[in-house]
Symmetry: C2
Subunit: 458 residues, 2 copies
């Protein structure tokens, strides 16, 4: 019956239908993700140890492998109401363009000024920092999506926000920097001489344009050396995936409303925040044996942690000040080609996503950059949204799967995460428009070299 | 009863509640807007004359002062479904920040890749061009909102799209240019040597960085000299206001759903496309004596056509190839300060808006740039959307009116048009963040000088 309801272009939930609790997929995992380790002792990080760096309640969420549903505080739900629910869109025009019998849906997270899903966790982390009575938070940002999201969230709760922005992005992407400044954040190019780790790196590599790993180290050092500050992170951590579960919960509620059962769920994967959030309630069904579907993680061929990395404990940052995490990793010294556009350039992967992948609950595939932008352009032209390069990795695979359905005649339901918009990535689009974009695939030697530096853990 | 329903943060209409016809406010105007005149003969432009430049059905709409409702073709309604209905947002956080008893609402038109309301008319104009069997269309763009919208619309209907972009914007705003190219449009910096009028201007002023009036002239010349092409325009014309009535119709439907009666409606006004569209059904109520409310047109102090211009026939373009229009104008040779940010820089104003203003159906006010950005920043921080500079003119006045309510204790319903996002205006935000933004107000002499060049019409 529900199947016969005509499916609108966009399914919006009523405010009353929006999730009131986040879903913690770890509660349903038989094999829990491996704990964070203290790099000094090799032992699991304790609540106390982590609380020096992170906000207390966030650490509790980080360590909670058991509670399936964690209520979303009213203050956060109020903020969510400003830009959520995000629409689940039926890609009628893309289907027509492809001539596929498949039904394609995308959950669009780009309708907010940060331009991506990152705001879902930023507002939660800012809320808990405020609740703890902190003065402010520190973080790093590469392309700038996370920094923008965090500066918006801090502005809302009147918290100070110190962002370390990878120097090359700071200089070449001044617009995201200005959005952050408009929201009152201070933005420092990294490496900087405001931290010990920054000064050391500048001394060793005077001309360096910075890296995400280095910016993380600076942000952590600043948090622990400033009274009333903590460090916050936009991906990889279990708490982030918890907050991002709002994406999947809304998507599932929208699909349930119309009786739509997904056959394939596709998400791009850098640190795993979007993928982990989008798939959470669905992989929960798989874990509990209630439903089955294919789940595909898509990563760039230039930074293929799931498809070519090793499942091992590794450093989360270049400065090695963070705890060790067990994850699919290319090695913390791995740096993807500078010609790779957009994000998805983290050397590792969320421990939750890594464990689910190791246990066979999801597939992974990697795609090349030119194919990604080809898909992005086709999508933009027919669906009217200029997608972020990150999101376009998922579009590429969604199109490929829909074309397979065209061959087989199968009417599959394909759902993918459209994590954000590409308004700040037009230098990359220009390269593509000018035919100057290439594909950048690391050699086996490149990867072996950085994997050789993995820390020794029993 | 309806008043007691709790009003959500965002009111969305169901697809079934979306407008099926545009509203033509001219049908309810006792004093019709003055007709376009042939600059050669001084006589009203005929259907035949206009059809050489514009698409036939659009000309019919342009000349139709009588039909109150014109059905929206299904193909356009299908496209609208991809990004409409746009939300009517209750600005709860802004109200709280201001401590005002007023209820503030905004109709947000920025949730599409063109970043503004311009897409509403672009898709209609592209549709009629396609229906007429044309190969393509030509147009001009300044800041790039209209050019982006038109390139999206043309891509959807597989029409060629030739955009003449004011040279200074072409060079300084490469990102909008790349969005247009991604949608397959050809973008030519204006003045160019591809047209007679362009060559003439380049000869006379070799170093010129171009103007909107000049780009219009080039686009019109290209349309009339290329087989299968017509010229399309994103504002000023009656047909554009007709298409933009979808904004007001949706806003009114959303308000009716919750029993909200607007006391004040505020829109920014450049050529009048957003203002005319937003206010259409409400001013219709005023014209028919069914309801009353204040309507405020907000223009920049640097380009104050309604508040300091003259109501007279004038040229629409610098090259004087377009028909004459009766409107509030600063004179077609008036050029606002180059330091004025964003759009709203047209020397004239829609004939419909002009006549309504002359007849006392709306008020007009002008605001200075620094106050506009102050309002923009406050709005961005509390409502989470980085507004376009254009839209921020309306925000400024909405805030001022809400603060007046705070003094008087009145619980007024204030509605304003948030026409778009500011993602491509960060150079202006940077100036504001750096304290380098000024206010630019033309002197009486400046205005008198350009008004002295008005054409002589009986």
């Amino acid at each position: 019956m529900a199947n016969q309801k005509e499916i609108p272009y966009k399914i919006y939930l009523e405010e009353s239908e929006m999730p009131q609790a986040w879903y913690n997929v770890r509660a349903d995992m038989k094999n829990k993700p491996a704990p964070l380790l203290n790099p000094g002792t090799g032992k699991p990080m304790t609540l106390e140890e982590l609380s020096g760096v992170f906000c207390r309640e966030l650490v509790e969420q980080e360590l909670d492998n058991d509670t399936p549903y964690i209520p979303i505080p009213q203050e956060i739900r109020d903020f969510y109401k400003m830009y959520r629910p995000s629409p689940l869109v039926r890609a009628y025009c893309l289907e027509k363009k492809l001539g596929t019998p498949a039904h394609i849906y995308y959950k669009f997270e780009g309708n907010n000024t940060s331009g991506s899903h990152k705001l879902n966790s930023a507002i939660a982390q800012a809320y808990y920092a405020k609740k703890q009575g902190l003065k402010g938070v520190t973080t790093e940002t590469g392309a700038g999506q996370w920094g923008t999201a965090l500066s918006m969230a801090c502005s809302y709760f009147d918290l100070d926000c110190k962002v370390f922005m990878v120097k090359v992005s700071y200089e070449q992407k001044p617009f995201r920097r200005e959005v952050m400044r408009t929201y009152g954040a201070s933005v420092t190019p990294s490496p900087s001489n405001t931290t010990n780790v920054g000064r050391k790196i500048l001394e060793e590599f005077p001309g360096t344009t910075g890296s995400l790993g280095c910016a993380i180290s600076e942000a952590v050092e600043t948090a622990v050396t400033h009274e009333g500050y903590r460090y916050v992170l936009g991906s990889v951590l279990a708490q982030v995936l918890l907050h991002q579960s709002v994406i999947g919960l809304e998507a599932k509620a929208a699909m349930d409303k119309y009786g739509i059962k997904p056959d394939i769920i596709i998400g791009c994967a850098g640190g795993g925040s979007n993928l982990g959030g989008l798939i959470a309630p669905f992989v929960g069904q798989k874990l509990r044996g209630e439903a089955d579907m294919r789940i595909i993680a898509v990563e760039p061929a230039s930074c293929p942690s799931l498809t070519r990395g090793k499942y091992a404990y590794d450093f989360c940052d270049t400065g090695m000040v963070c705890p060790l995490a067990k994850m699919y990793t290319l090695g913390s010294s791995f740096i993807p080609s500078a010609n790779h556009a957009g994000g998805l350039r983290y050397h590792g992967m969320s421990s939750i996503v890594s464990q689910l992948y190791a246990d066979g609950y999801l597939e992974a595939t990697s795609v090349e950059q030119t194919g990604v932008f080809e898909a992005a352009e086709m999508f933009a032209r027919v669906e009217g949204i200029l997608p972020a390069p990150e999101s376009s990795h998922a579009i590429r695979v969604a199109i490929d799967e829909a074309l397979k359905c065209k061959e087989t005649g199968e009417e599959k339901n394909i759902v993918f995460g459209l994590t954000g918009t590409g308004y700040f990535d037009l230098v990359a689009y220009q390269k593509y428009n000018d035919g100057e974009m290439g594909d950048y695939i690391p050699t086996d030697e490149d990867i072996a070299k950085s994997l050789a530096k993995l820390p020794k853990v029993d």
